[in-house]
Amino acid sequence: MPGILVYASVSCDAVSMPTREILGMARAIAAKTGEPVSAALLGAGVSSLPRSLIESGADSVYVCDHDKLGEFQVNIYLKVLTDIVAAVNPRILLFPGEAAAVELAPRLAHRLKSGLVTDCVGFDVREDAVVFTKPVYGSKALAQMRIAGPTALATVRLRTQEPFGPDPNRTGEVVAVQTALDDIQPETRTVERVEEEIFECALEDANVVVSGGRGLKDPESFQQLRELAALLNGAMGATRVAVDQGMAPPSCQIGLTGKIVAPEVYFAVGISGASQHIAGMSGSKYIVAINSDPEAPIFSISNVGVVEDYRNVLPTLIAELRKALAR
């Protein structure tokens, strides 16, 4: 019986939300094909997590718990994952669209002599294959792609799939994977690591995101955005251009290449709406755009728009909201 294998990632000692999303996608495919869903779990001290994967939709969990897997090292992870794929022999292999998985997936595809669709946002189960939907040309078009090869690999954009469950009554099998890792060394050595200061709350989890773009004149303007974000218990974001100009840190970059967010409310300040940026925020529930150019493309995807120089808007907006919210 061909099956679906899901690469599970761990965040804060728990199964990550992106993993639960692709398990939801796997279950939706399995509902049509009747295939079993397996999960591959790699890490150090992860032996308590298979239960949570089963509750979130896995029928079986292949777990490799090893000290050498404590920190992500692509060549070591690849070795274990290759063993798991050989054991499961899946027809479909899904990865969450996170940095580690995005690094693993092409290399695994190469080893399997198969193809990979990256940044997939949807799927269609056909008789002979699963067809993946992927935004292309900066999200100005959508491509339907099929894999010609033994295993269809896909990385899935965050926040595009509904997670499954959790259902505490589900049962499943846990398989311990014994890959010999004594002799393998990391390909590269990390000599320094800098964690950026995270303001207020993590961008991807924020209910409100306040972003700035090319239209902002200076880094001080970003301080105003940060102030508005803090007032609304949200996070600050930026476009690629603003990051390139050094006005905002790279970890704030929202877009196709950057973070993908889908908050309750998104403020686009001085953002024209290049498709690269829209790809990272078009899933927001409510979009507020402030831009002096009435023709800016951002307005075409916004719920409410203000045609005005942001400098004439932000101070009053912040003051009025502070008053109304009594903060």
């Binding site: 100005k140 078009a141 507020v288 995807i301 719920n303």
Partner: protein
């Protein structure tokens, strides 16, 4: 030391969605819209290579592209920016390659060139955004691959690579040969070609290699097949806030957001 920078010519990603045209039959963008450009991340990659060369004149930088007649332009641009040589992999069979086939073709050219120490690729191309060619090329060549890199410097006998991580950055020590997938940063904004550079680039011979030259005889199979290309639909209707001036509009916007109960 020899650095190869892989580049792709793409349809201008700045074409607004309202004007963007799709060739539904061919399942790709209409090719002759706007002026094609060098993929922006590839420009960042060239800049990273040239910064290494700025500090060590013995470093040779070669720009490489796979593509049809018009892609000569991106090679000329790379030369004008300061690359020493260019390689053009040019064959009708190369015009519709998928990521895996592109990587396989470039691998053959790199092997043929010999003595390549470092390969830089833009993290992804702004047309199909597959983001795989660099990593697949490293697999083909069986060399280490660093994603999300944005800066490289020589340190002692080795190299230190700065890369973005999900929560910040990391500095890695790497040996050679190595492949780096380059992302944008304020440290690698591409330089403008000088007038002298443009003149020199115009005179330079660019060697081309066909499928035959690279000993590729069979048709290269596809691992990813595009079944259809469609246009997305956004069904939002924007409501503009009225007002005499900025502060008045701001107050009206605040009142609207409160009334909609959007802010908790």
């Amino acid at each position: 030391m020899h650095i190869v920078v892989c580049m792709k010519q793409i349809i201008d990603p700045e074409i607004p969605s309202g004007e963007f045209k799709v060739d539904f039959e061919a399942r790709r963008a209409v090719q002759d819209q706007g002026e094609p450009v060098l993929n922006p991340y590839d420009e960042n990659a060239i800049e990273v290579a040239l910064q290494l060369k700025d500090r060590d004149k013995d470093i040779k930088v070669t720009a490489l592209t796979v593509g049809g007649e018009s892609s000569q332009k991106v090679l000329r641009r790379a030369l004008a920016m300061g690359c020493d040589e260019a390689i053009w992999l040019k064959d009708p069979a190369f015009e519709t390659l998928d990521s895996a086939a592109t990587a396989a073709v470039i691998a053959k050219a790199v092997r043929r060139a010999g003595n390549v120490d470092m390969i830089l690729c833009g993290r992804q191309a702004g047309d199909w955004d597959m983001g795989q060619v660099g990593t697949l090329l490293a697999e083909e060549l069986q060399i280490a691959c660093i994603p999300m890199a944005y800066h490289v410097e020589q340190k002692g006998g080795g190299f230190r690579v700065k890369r973005e991580t999900e929560s910040g950055m990391a500095v890695l020590e790497v040996g050679l040969p190595v492949l780096l997938n380059i992302t944008n940063s304020s440290t690698n904004q591409p330089r403008f070609p000088s007038v002298k550079g443009v003149l020199m680039a115009g005179r330079k011979q660019i060697p081309t290699f066909s499928a035959g030259d690279l000993a590729i005889d069979a048709e290269i199979p596809k691992r990813v097949v595009v079944e259809a290309l469609t246009l997305p639909r956004y069904d939002r209707q924007v409501m503009f806030i009225d007002g005499e001036d900025g502060p008045e509009k701001a107050a009206a916007l605040a009142a609207h957001l409160i009334k909609m109960n959007l802010l908790k």
